[in-house]
C-alpha cells in the first residue's frame, strides 16, 4: 500500500496508529475525569490503557502487514518498517510498564489515574518521534514525550525526592531543548528546510557549512541529553533515582529508544553525507560507555546503578549509531528490544523489592533473595546477565549485532572499547547476582515484604521468556530488524 500524503485521507491512514492512540487517550482522559477516586478506577484506567496500546499495536501491524509505503517525498512522517518496529518497541515497553504499575500505584497509594493518560501521551510522543521526517515533528514529539515524562517523574509529589527529580529533569530537559531548538534553527538556516530528505539533498549539494555543522552539533547535544549520553547524562541518575520506579523503567526504555530512533532517522537520511557527526558520535559513544560503566561501578544503590547502566547502554547504542547504515539500524533495533526487555525486567523486580521510590534499595539488600524468592531472583539474574551481554540472553545477541555492525563499518577500536567496558560492567552486574545467591539475608524477614501481583509477574515472566527466547532463537527478530534497518536509506544526493 502506497500512500500519497498530500491526500488527507491517505495522510490519516499513515497516521492511523497515532490517531488510534490519541483517541484512546482522549477516551481515557474522559474516563479519568469521571472516575478517579478508588483503586478500582485506577485499575480500570490501566486496562483501558492496555487496550489502547493493544489496538494501536494492531493498527501498526495492519499498516505493516500491508507494506505501507509513501509515494514521493515523506513530508512530516514516514511509513516504513523502521517506524513500525520502533512503534512496537514503544508500545511493548509501555504495556509492560502498565503491567508493573498496577500493584505499584496501589502499594504506593498513588491513586492518580492521569498517570495512564500521561503514559499514553508519552508513548504517543515517542511514536511521533520515530515517525517524524521533519525536525518540526520530531521536536514536537520530543516535547510531548518530555512534558508527559516530566510530570510522571514528579508524580509522587508527596515525596520530596520525586518532586526534586521532576524539577531537575524539567530544568535540564528544557535547557537541552533550547540547544536542540537552536540546532534546528541553524540547520534550517543552512538548508532552508526542516524536512530530513530535503536537508539531505541540500547538504549533498552545498556541502557542510559552519552553520550546518554547529546546528548538527547542537542537534546531537539535544538528543544526547535525551538518551543520557555522557557528558549530558548527569540528570539521569538523580532523576531515575527520584522518579517512581515504573516511570524510571519507562524513561530508561521508551524515552531512550525514541530519542535513538529519531536520531537514527535524522542522521542517516539527512546527514549521511556529513562526515563530522561520525567523529562526534564516536567520541560520545566512547565517553558514554566508559563513563557509564565506571560510574555504575561506584554505586551501591541498585536504582542508581541501573541508571548509570542505562547510560552505559546508551553508549552501546551510540556505537550502533556510529556504525550507521542498515546494519547499525538493525543492530539498534535488536538491541533496543533486548535492552527494553532487560531493563524493564530489572526495574520491575526492583519495584517489588522496594518502598517509597526504591531509592534506598542497595545492591546488598538483595542478599538472600535467591533462597527466599527463587523465581524473582532468577528473573533478576537473567536480566543482569542479559544486561551484561551474556550468551543465551537477548542482551548477548544485541551486543553481538552491534559489534558486527561496528566491525562492518571498520570501527574495530570502538568495538574493542565496547567489549572492554562490558568487562567493567561485570563488576556491578555480578554483585547483584552475588548478593542474591551468595550472601545470606541480613535478617530473617528481609524479604517478606517483597510483593508482586500477578500482572507484574506476567510482565516479568514475559521479559524473562523473551530474553531467553531471543537469546537462543533470534532469527525472527533479526528478520524484522534487518528489513526495518534497510528501510531507512541515506538520501541519494546524486539524483537531485
Amino acid at each position: 500500500m502506497t500512500l500519497d500524503l498530500s491526500v488527507y485521507s491517505e495522510l490519516l491512514l499513515a497516521l492511523l496508529p497515532e490517531l488510534v492512540l490519541t483517541g484512546w487517550s482522549l477516551v481515557l482522559l474522559t474516563f479519568v475525569a469521571w472516575r478517579h477516586k478508588t483503586e478500582r478506577d485506577l485499575r480500570i484506567a490501566g486496562w483501558l490503557t492496555l487496550a489502547g496500546l493493544a489496538s494501536t499495536a494492531v493498527a501498526v501491524y495492519w499498516l505493516w502487514w500491508n507494506q505501507t509505503g509513501i509515494e514521493g517525498l515523506a513530508i512530516m512522517v514516514a511509513a516504513d518498517d523502521f517506524r513500525w518496529v520502533a512503534d512496537w518497541v514503544f508500545l511493548g515497553a509501555a504495556a509492560l510498564t502498565v503491567l508493573i504499575s498496577f500493584f505499584y500505584l496501589a502499594r504506593e497509594r498513588l491513586l492518580v489515574p492521569e498517570y495512564y493518560v500521561l503514559l499514553l501521551f508519552a508513548t504517543l510522543g515517542a511514536m511521533i518521534m520515530a515517525a517524524g521526517t521533519d525536525l518540526m515533528v520530531v521536536f514536537l514529539g520530543l516535547e510531548l514525550l518530555s512534558v508527559a515524562v516530566y510530570v510522571l517523574a514528579g508524580l509522587d509529589r508527596r515525596r520530596a525526592r520525586s518532586a526534586e527529580a521532576a524539577l531537575k529533569y524539567f530544568l535540564l530537559g528544557a535547557f537541552a531543548s533550547g540547544f536542540l531548538l537552536y540546532g534546528i534553527a541553524l540547520v534550517y538556516g543552512a538548508t532552508a528546510t526542516t524536512n530530513f530528505t530535503l536537508i539531505g539533498t541540500q547538504v549533498g549539494i552545498s556541502g557542510p557549512s559552519p552553520m550546518l555543522l554547529i546546528g548538527l552539533a547542537l542537534l546531537i547535544v539535544g538528543f544526547g541529553f535525551k538518551v543520557a549520553a555522557v557528558p549530558f547524562h548527569m540528570w539521569a541518575p538523580d532523576v531515575y533515582d527520584g522518579a517512581p520506579t515504573p516511570v524510571t523503567a519507562f524513561m530508561a526504555t521508551t524515552v531512550k529508544a525514541a530519542a535513538f530512533a529519531a536520531l537514527f532517522r535524522l542522521l542517516i537520511t539527512a546527514f549521511s553525507s556529513v562526515a563530522a557527526w561520525h567523529d562526534i558520535v564516536w567520541w560520545l559513544a566512547v565517553v558514554t560507555m566508559v563513563g557509564g560503566n565506571l560510574f555504575a561501578l561506584g554505586q551501591r544503590s541498585f536504582k542508581r546503578m541501573l541508571a548509570y547502566s542505562s547510560v552505559a547502554h546508551a553508549g552501546y547504542l551510540l556505537v550502533a549509531v556510529t556504525a550507521g547504515g542498515s546494519e547499525g539500524t538493525g543492530a539498534f533495533l535488536v538491541y533496543a528490544v533486548a535492552y527494553t526487555l532487560m531493563s524493564l525486567g530489572a526495574f520491575a523486580v526492583l519495584s517489588a523489592k522496594g518502598r517509597s521510590g526504591e531509592s534506598d534499595v542497595l545492591i546488598d539488600d538483595f542478599a538472600g533473595l535467591g533462597s527466599k524468592r527463587p523465581w524473582l531472583a532468577f528473573a533478576m539474574s537473567v536480566c543482569m546477565l542479559s544486561l551484561l551481554g551474556f550468551p543465551g540472553t537477548a542482551g548477548f545477541i544485541g551486543k553481538w549485532y552491534i559489534l558486527i555492525a561496528a566491525t562492518n563499518a571498520d570501527q574495530n577500536v570502538l568495538a574493542t572499547i565496547l567489549v572492554l567496558t562490558s568487562v567493567v560492567s561485570a563488576g556491578y552486574y555480578l554483585p547483584v547476582i552475588m548478593a542474591m545467591y551468595m550472601k545470606p539475608e541480613p535478617i530473617e524477614a528481609a524479604h517478606v515484604d517483597v510483593v508482586f501481583d500477578r500482572w507484574a509477574r506476567l510482565a516479568v515472566t514475559t521479559v524473562v521468556v523473551a530474553l531467553l527466547l531471543f537469546g537462543v532463537w533470534p532469527n525472527r527478530l533479526f528478520q524484522l530488524a534487518r528489513t526495518a534497518g534497510a528501510s531507512i536509506q541515506p538520501t541519494n544526493t546524486t539524483t537531485t
Binding site: V147, A166, A174, A185, D241
Partner: protein, 98 residues
C-alpha cells in the same frame, strides 16, 4: 541585510541565557533564562524566515506553544517542589545525589 546582525544578536542572547542558567540558583529565574534562550532561537528563526520562507515563522509559532506548555508544567513542578522545601533554590535540591 538584517540577517547577520540578527544572527549575532541571537547568538549573544542565547549565550546570555546559557550564562544565566550557569549563574543562577533560583529555579524560576533559571527557567526564565531558558526562555531567554528560546527567544534567542526565535530571533534566529524569524531572521532566517525573512530569507528562506515562512517555515521559520511557523516554527516560532510552535516554539511559543512549547514554551507555554513547558511553562505550565514547569511552574507546576516548581510549586510542587516549593511545597516540600519552602524554597526554589537549586542549592537545596540535594536529596538526589551520589
Amino acid at each position: 541585510m538584517l540577517l547577520s546582525p540578527a544572527l549575532a544578536i541571537s547568538a549573544v542572547l542565547f549565550t546570555l541565557g546559557v550564562a544565566g542558567v550557569l549563574l543562577r540558583r533560583n529555579a524560576i529565574v533559571i527557567f526564565m533564562c531558558i526562555e531567554l534562550m528560546l527567544n534567542a532561537v526565535n530571533l534566529t528563526f524569524v531572521a532566517l524566515a525573512q530569507r528562506l520562507g515562512m517555515g521559520g515563522q511557523i516554527f516560532v509559532f510552535f516554539v511559543m506553544a512549547v514554551a507555554a506548555a513547558e511553562a505550565g508544567v514547569g511552574l507546576a513542578i516548581i510549586l510542587a517542589v516549593f511545597r516540600h522545601k519552602q524554597s526554589v533554590s537549586l542549592q537545596n535540591m540535594n536529596l538526589l545525589r551520589d
